[in-house]
Symmetry: C2
Subunit: 131 residues, 2 copies
DNA sequence: GGTTAATGATACCACACGGGTATCATTCTG
DNA sequence: CAGAATGATACCCGTGTGGTATCATTAACC
């Protein structure tokens, strides 16, 4: 059971790096050594962050990426949602069609509670906390 | 990100069934319809639970499985550990060898905190709660 | 305007894992 | 001995994840 995958891990590092850098833009080439990952792979991650509006990108020579919001406005939860898909820990493994117990299912109920508390926790961690 | 997988889900149902049944032993054949899973698959799960000492097994005609402890002594955490491996949400994705920052890493620190609270939650849910 | 340095967009690959089935061996009851 | 149950394995297959490669596009600088 993984809470976060590598994408999220690398993204957290890259963003932390950017937050500390305090430059207008940071290129992948400048980050890759510190982050400790190959250039192409890091680019793919940054592109996803770009699509999600977490960073903005400047193309062309001298370009790179920059944070689109303040570091304390970017949460771990957002990174997880962006890079590993929507965060539903467990809706019933069987579709609601098959499962008659859905409403009454105690296990699902318990897990829903755990889930909501977990989400609150990952939403409370920001890049600022990491930098 | 899945909190529990199907094995755990089915196991929870099967154990709940057994807890309510209150018979000396329950065979897979008796459970499979209620649990909603094929016989062979459920057997594989039960065998793992047996190895883990959560149920005991009686072979031969008239045999089956029975809970080895009281339902309030079997926790969701134990099922998860048994059926999906040890529960470390995230030790550093890179081995400790590569990662120099291990001790200082803020992200790891945050996640460790989240993890311990999550484990406490899954350890608090017992089969008795579900039955 | 051409070269170079950067991102954008895809397409692809290889491996591990999860979910599930099949098969044969073993043990107990009657 | 026959039948009913678990024990132990071995296998399969679809999907997800980590990672690479390639080409297109944009902007700066000489
Ligand atoms: S099994 Fe479907 S909700 Fe519990
Ligand atoms: S990256 Fe290794 S512990 Fe943070």
């Amino acid at each position: 059971m993984k809470l976060i995958n590598r994408d999220v891990d690398y993204a957290a590092r890259a963003l932390t790096f950017m937050a500390r850098a305090n430059k207008p833009t940071v290129s992948v080439a400048q980050m890759q050594e510190q982050v400790g990952v190959s250039g192409p792979f890091l680019r793919k991650i940054m592109q996803k962050l770009h699509k999600a509006g977490i960073v903005h990108a400047v193309k062309g020579k001298g370009g790179g990426f920059a944070m689109a919001r303040n570091p304390d406005k970017v949460t771990l939860k957002q990174l997880m949602e962006t890079l590993q898909g929507p965060l539903r820990l467990n809706d019933c493994v069987f579709g609601e069609k098959i499962c008659q117990r859905h409403a009454a299912c105690v296990l699902r109920h318990k897990i829903a509670g755990i889930e909501s508390r977990l989400l609150a926790e990952v939403a409370a961690v920001t890049i600022k906390d990491l930098a």
